[in-house]
Subunit: 210 residues, 4 copies
């Protein structure tokens, strides 16, 4: 009899990977709001002071929503891919743990971008974080294919659909980030438009992403 | 054969939407308590100092409970609606992600209201947050109807029940908020009473809300 | 035909109440650790400085563990009771939302107690929080009985077992809290011993609690 | 008839223990990122200032990833063991609650290590935390065996596989920690290498751990 390999026991439970993922996405999405800080009471003496202080929060509200949508996009993408798996295995689970570690970095990248909206460094860190999410999502699908743990009845062109979606999206994100050569505002505008396309108008464009 | 559209793969899993929702509601509800800060040790020299410091926390305890109940009401409403769906789809999922983004804003709106109880601006932001929750809940039901993903055996007057509930509740919230023309205290009192009606005495009134 | 009452739709899903509860218990338990703050770097100049700083954290480590065990006890109690239900309903759900609101207060009560270990006010707030948890657990069982939503095949003496457990435990907690007339240290010692009895040695005593 | 013992009702639900565990692991993993603080805006006057500030965060990024992998390793280990159980019981649940309390300490140990990388005290606390995780995982398996709640069809050498894995891993962690006699950097390097072996290259070594 083949000696028992502990690794054959680990990471089998697809349900618990989904539960851990949902938990981490949920906490990361909620932590984003901690970046929206209430105005300091001692600086507020009238209604108009408070309205002005709230207005000055609007860039942070924008980065909050942008990152919430980012995490929503990747949550949908991960969900779509996990739905195609028949079971899980240790290697695929570790790639997903890597994906989740990148998800947890999004609140940091977002706070950095919100604090340093004019700085290319902040924008590039944010973009690198999105790139990492895309690469790990791609790698986890390749690994699932490699280990043959996908469902048996998948449509034949599923790989092309998944690869094209991730690659096209990442190219667009990359183009958006490259606009920071001119101005970080252009980059952020492009990324927001790209995300609106995915979230709000999925039937307009042909190029949609997880 | 119709070419494979990635969107047909995304957002199908109703169970994971529920898990993400429960996670986000749970974190948002728990974050509310971070607004209750322990008194500063250096200012406390006797038991009565501490009792007084605790008493001065009571407005924040009230806003904590008010927002906890708000989130409870909308958690129940979302749960009731998701229970009526047979499956999910991408568009409905995005409306629910929007709902969850509004849920995550509640800890911010609550902290703002607790810090600036006398300011109409704080009250209106809080009310706008509740309005957003109501609108997105309504929109997600309309979308579910539009895409025909509800369960087949629903009672015939279910739409009217859902619409009436959301609209009546939002009208009452709106009336409560409008009372801030006179005083923000009246508004808060009206909102608290409205919520007690939903949570504690659902059989007294005829107008109940999700 | 009876007109459709929205309340008959709400709160039916026992699984989602369990998921929300697990989420809130999980976040509340994890937030407890935020009270353990790392020593300030500028005050540490040697290994022995750091050891001393860590030693001075031990009262907070104790309150951390005490509250973690408290939440563990009530998580087990809530789980045991929900397992006995056949379905859920709106009123029972609201009692559980009340229970969860009290669960979320535990990180606050714990931080208060850790900061003001010598103050009876802090101890009484902590005890009141535990009392509230017990009362709401009791009320939710009574409500479940009242609405007849428990499983049909329960053993006949189940009510007595549940009531006795909660009441005996709360009496012991109350006695422990009353010791603060002499010293808050006695109270805390008594509560810790009581909890060890439930967690570590459930077969020694006869009086065990949810 | 045997009088009803409340303890026979508590802790039966394996699904809820898994849900609580996934929640706590998810929150603890996400809290790790709070240690990555954005640079202070007033100190940043140019792109190169920001790049330098980001570079100076790299030790904290390393401890972040190290602890994320640690938690991933133990999440996988706990999952593998719970998968082997047929049901749960109160005593096993309490050992897992102890495990989860140790999981929640990891963000504290990590922050301590990140702040005091050169101090043996910080390293030993971190190692003690990992040791505690290993001991409780071991104890929970022994308890499950003792109470006979494992699945009936387990392979005969499963115990040896589980024990060897935990013990070998803990010996390697212990050796790594012992290197702090020479330098804490050596210890951290050894722990990182050990974890990479588990996460990235499970097929290279023979000695792998949960």
């Amino acid at each position: 009899m083949e000696p028992l390999n502990y690794n054959r026991l680990a990471g089998k439970n697809l349900g618990r990977l989904e539960a851990l993922s949902d938990g981490i996405f949920a906490v990361a999405m909620t932590l984003l709001v901690l970046d929206l800080k209430t105005p300091v009471a001692s600086a507020i003496h009238s209604e108009s002071d408070l309205w002005n202080a709230l207005l000055s929060l609007s860039p942070r509200l924008m980065t909050y929503l942008m990152s919430f949508v980012t995490l929503g996009i990747f949550w949908l993408g991960q969900q779509a891919q996990l739905n195609l798996l028949e079971k899980s295995n240790r290697d695929v689970v570790w790639l997903h743990i890597g994906l989740l570690a990148s998800v947890c970095l999004i609140p940091f990248s977002t706070a950095l971008l919100a604090e340093f909206l004019q700085y290319r460094a902040a924008l590039l860190v944010y973009w690198a974080n999105i790139l990492l999410l895309g690469l790990l999502l791609l790698a986890s699908w390749r690994a699932a294919r490699h280990f043959g743990i996908v469902k048996p009845d998948l449509p034949p062109d599923i790989d092309r659909a998944i690869y094209r979606r991730i690659i096209v999206a990442q190219c667009l994100y990359g183009l958006g980030a490259a606009l920071c050569v001119f101005s970080t505002s252009w980059s952020i505008g492009a990324i927001v438009l790209l995300q609106l396309n995915y979230a709000l108008a999925p039937r307009i464009g042909k190029f949609e992403l997880p």
